[in-house]
Amino acid sequence: MEIDPIIFRLSIFVLSIFVGYYVVWSVTPSLHTPLMSVTNAISSVIIVGAIIAGLSGDIKSIFDTSNMFGFLAIFLAAINIFGGFLVTQRMLQMYKKKKKNK
């Protein structure tokens, strides 16, 4: 009897939810805003699907509807990836330990 590969993916999914649960609870509340912007950035890894769709065309089919949606998705996800990681970095720079004024 063989196990459907979807079960393996489901296992990864369920275990990741648990990992997420414990990791996120350990995030300090003062960093909740960077948490949101970084989760934004990483969820844009959806761009891999868009790239596969975009790369699939040859010269004849490059402007097919399916390819165009792929390109648009790349564009949107790229805004998010660059924007999300950079704005997170910018915020985190502000949390550097400062010298106390006495």
Binding site: S16, P29, S30, I47, I51, I62, G70, F71, I74, L76
Partner: protein, 464 residues
Amino acid sequence: MSANLLAIFYLISGALFILALRGLSSPETSRRGNLFGILGMIIAITVTFLSIGNFSIGFIYVSIFLLVGGSIGAFIAYKIPMTAMPELVAGFHSLVGLAAVFVAISAFLNPQVFNLGLPGDIKLSSLIEMSIGAAIGAITFSGSVIAFLKLRGIMSGSPIIFRWQHYINLLLALSIIVLIFYLCKTQSDSIFWKIIVISFLLGVLLIIPIGGADMPVVISMLNSYSGWAAAGIGFTLENTALIITGALVGSSGAILSYIMCKGMNRSFFNVILGGFGGTDSTLQKNRNKKPVKSGNAEDAAFLMKNASSVIIVPGYGMAVAQAQHALKEMADNLKKNGVKVSYAVHPVAGRMPGHMNVLLAEANVPYDEVFEQENINNDFASTDVAFVIGANDVTNPAAKTDPQSPIYGMPILDVEKSKSVLFVKRSLSPGYAGIDNELFYRDNTLMLFSDAKKMTEEIVKNFN
């Protein structure tokens, strides 16, 4: 590159994303965490390019769209003021949602590229996964657009309510499920488009009844949705990185929603059903009867200078007035005079989780002077002055004393226990919950009616 090797690289990038979130457990490790995240993303994108062996014309277009989008994103990230962070995050959520919809459409129209079968003959499991991903993505998109418009002030923050609202939403949600069922039976294009259109509509209708100050919950919830949408697409594309990330983001958003709801002592459904924040009919009566002590910057400066400890309580009003830099200057002046200064941040202060912390960090306030509610609430009793700037409901003692109050049971900051309370506020108008704050009328309260930034700057002038 073999499929197995590819899958291992995706797994690595998923693991790096976990480390990125793990880094946020303390400010010291957070920057390294972010770098892990960036590394994970670079790996995922690079191996995807390498997996398509032959160089095709698509390569050029993909790079162009990637670079144009990337430059726009980088430009926004550098230009955006910190006070606009809630809108930015809402806007970014909408992009993730729409990207998920587009990838799902692309996979539906051209399934052979993703090994999902042929158009009109897509694998059943893939069809279910991609339509769920598309539906949640569409809800995330249109919901986030509404949240963005509300936060930006383009759309009024007050709830929009009409008859049968919740039944209509329920009906739309059920029809999406029914349509997905029929899509699986018929593989019809038109049903797929209908699912997406109805989901867009549902996203709008879900968010319009929710008022401005409940936005922390809304943003967290949409964060969670964008994760589940990504996970749905991850199953379709059989991509481990996407499944791991989707699960992480989904649970992250869910936990943040939970924390925000707890901060208001309201159930998730109470917030989502919306319509919160009316006006108190007894408000007008009280106002005429009760005397209010109001003061000016000189009084405030005198009080604080002679105090031995001051706790600053920032709220949304500080963000609106952009008073964080003036506030830091005031705190520095006080510290020079030997006054102990700390900051108390309520979980739902502002318009998104952690909003106040970011603004204070921007103004160079050391993060070890900023305290969460449970760590500072006992200190108010031994504090001389509580300086409340732009906050209201989160200090209202009615939450503890008046079971009739809509905010009864909400954990509040005990500012009333300090020796004197300074309120910087534009007017006596009630807060978001629409209820009066009895603290305004107490003997040891001094109201400072002014713009938060202007008042703080004047106080600084009066120190000298």
